[in-house]
Amino acid sequence: MELTTIVLAVAAIAGLYMAWNIGANDVANAMGTSVGSGALTLRGAIIVAAIFEFGGAMLAGGTVTKTIRRGIVDMDALGGDPMVIAIGMTCCLIAAALWLNIATYAGWPVSTTHSIVGAVMGFGLIAGGFEAVNWSMMVKIAASWIISPLLGGFLGYFGFVFIKNRILNVHRPLLALRGWGPIMVFPIFAILALSVLFKGLKPLKLDLGLGSSLGIAVAVGLLASILSVPLLRRATRLASEDKDEHSYRAERVFLVLQVMTACFVAFAHGSNDVANAVGPMAAVFGATSGQLGAEVAVPYRVLLIGALGIVVGLATYGYKIMATIGKKITELTPSRGFAAEFGAATTIVMASKLGLPVSTTHTLVGAVIGVGFARGIGAINARVVSGIIASWFITVPFTAILAAGLFLIGRLWLP
């Protein structure tokens, strides 16, 4: 059998496995808050995830895919042999997937993103030496790993303080929701639209600049909030003046709003994390088809493999994790879940637009802690935070060394 065919097959299998992992673990973590608060059923969460993950990957995932594929390692410094890249990126996928398997088994809160970035860096170091790695990009990525949970936490904090002061704790929460609801719907749709429109529709030959996409995004947001007015009016119809009834019903309305943020989170996750599987695969497919340096669009079959792997991961294993999360985090009420998800998704989408691969789970954890700082959560286990910080320092070196080792072996087959 020809070497190219073997590499392609191995890359496809490793990419599929990576995608499966993302579907099984990451997506489940991302959707867990919605399942836990009861905003979505398990089946609903899987359907929402399948649709919006795919949408996020296709419409807004290109930039991060490009970063993983070409941004971390300078492909020109690796010499002219496309097989080096093909074998190297395959090794990266295997290394990252192996590490994820170990971490999943041990219960460590590591990130698929950090794993693949570390692996690609390790491969670059061996294949092209110190200069081959784009260090300024690495610094940016590493900084984004610290900034994204902080920003998620910041948004989660202020989101919940706002909800607390303006809605939950006023005299008539339902009436407050009538007024503030449409205003909360606006940013969800506007940011979502902006992330799709701004440099997102290249495949459709619709490359909008910042100005025009901003204009359309505002229009979409306004349209959504106008449409939400009658819906919210119906949901907040007053049955009685009872205070408890008011609070209970207000949380029910947040369930509806949380379904929107759940879609937003799934979209954000798709835009950022699908690249972890698709990026290296695209590099392999690109290299073997002889378009090494050329600017090629991510082949659709690669995206299809990625999307397929994620949906299969969700369906085969993700539901299990989601069921566990759903049972464990019932104390996160819809208003809290809404604030956390909105903060996390906004952060992730922004990072994706900048081409920065960030960790969805870590950002979401940051956002939940932000809500906790606003005194919104009964008890947070701070140990998870130290686990996350430890994983920053372990994941990258480990996958880098593993990918480097695998590449040293894989290189033996080079002609």
Binding site: N29, V368, R375, A379, I380, V384
Partner: protein, 224 residues
């Protein structure tokens, strides 16, 4: 499994404080029966009830330990962990004082002078009322957590703390009356009895004092 989000959210330990309050109230309420038996001159009954109260205080201790064990250092809560621990020990102190009243009454059998009977019963009643007002405060914890420690539930907590403070002040005033009546009778009773009575009155008064401290802890929750 790698589920950081599920591991992140721990069970809220504050409801455990409610369990403790139930035990504390059950224990302290028996002091009223104790004083009634004492007024009747039923020393055997006093001994029996004192033992019973002591056993109930043991149960309250179990509830206290259960509440404390749910508060590891690595738990981030909307209230300061130390404040919650202080709250728990103040609640526990109420039960401790109830137990002490029983113990004191068994160390040296006391008789209640007739002039003192009504005001003593009133005093016990007012001290226990203070404890009950503190329990109402504990009942507000759930609402407080739900609202993120602000808004109407926070206002209700402050109102209830004020009510609690007034109840304690009332108990204080009746304690003074009680002491006055006691010292009016000082020539008619042995000095050791006067000594023991002052101790007993102080212990009953301390139940109200510790109950008031519960209110102070709640003020800190809302302020912090």
């Amino acid at each position: 499994m790698r589920i950081p989000l599920a591991n992140l959210l721990a069970r809220n330990p504050l409801p455990k404080v409610g369990d403790l309050m139930v035990e504390v109230m059950r224990t302290s309420d028996r002091v009223q029966d104790l004083i009634e038996l004492l007024a009747k001159g039923d020393q055997a009954g006093v001994e029996r009830l004192a033992k019973e109260i002591s056993a109930m205080e043991g149960k309250a201790d179990d509830a206290k330990n259960a509440a404390r064990s749910k508060m590891p250092v690595r738990l981030m809560m909307p209230v300061d962990r130390r404040d919650v621990l202080k709250l728990i020990s103040e609640m526990d102190a109420i039960a401790d004082c109830a137990e002490d009243v029983g113990v004191l009454l068994t160390i040296r059998p006391l008789t209640v002078p007739d002039e003192m009977k009504p005001v003593l019963q009133l005093f016990v009643q007012s001290a226990l009322d203070t404890v009950h007002e503190a329990a109402k405060l504990i009942d507000l914890i759930d609402d407080l957590v739900e609202s993120g420690f602000s808004g109407p539930p926070a206002e209700r907590v402050l109102e209830q703390s004020a009510i609690l403070g007034r109840a304690e002040h009332e108990a204080d005033k009746i304690q003074d009356q009680c002491a006055k009546v006691l010292f009016k009778e000082e020539d008619n009773m042995p000095p050791a009895a006067v000594f023991m009575w002052t101790k007993v009155l102080n212990k009953i008064g301390d139940m109200a004092n510790h109950a008031e401290n519960v209110g102070d802890q709640f003020r800190l929750f809302v302020a912090g």
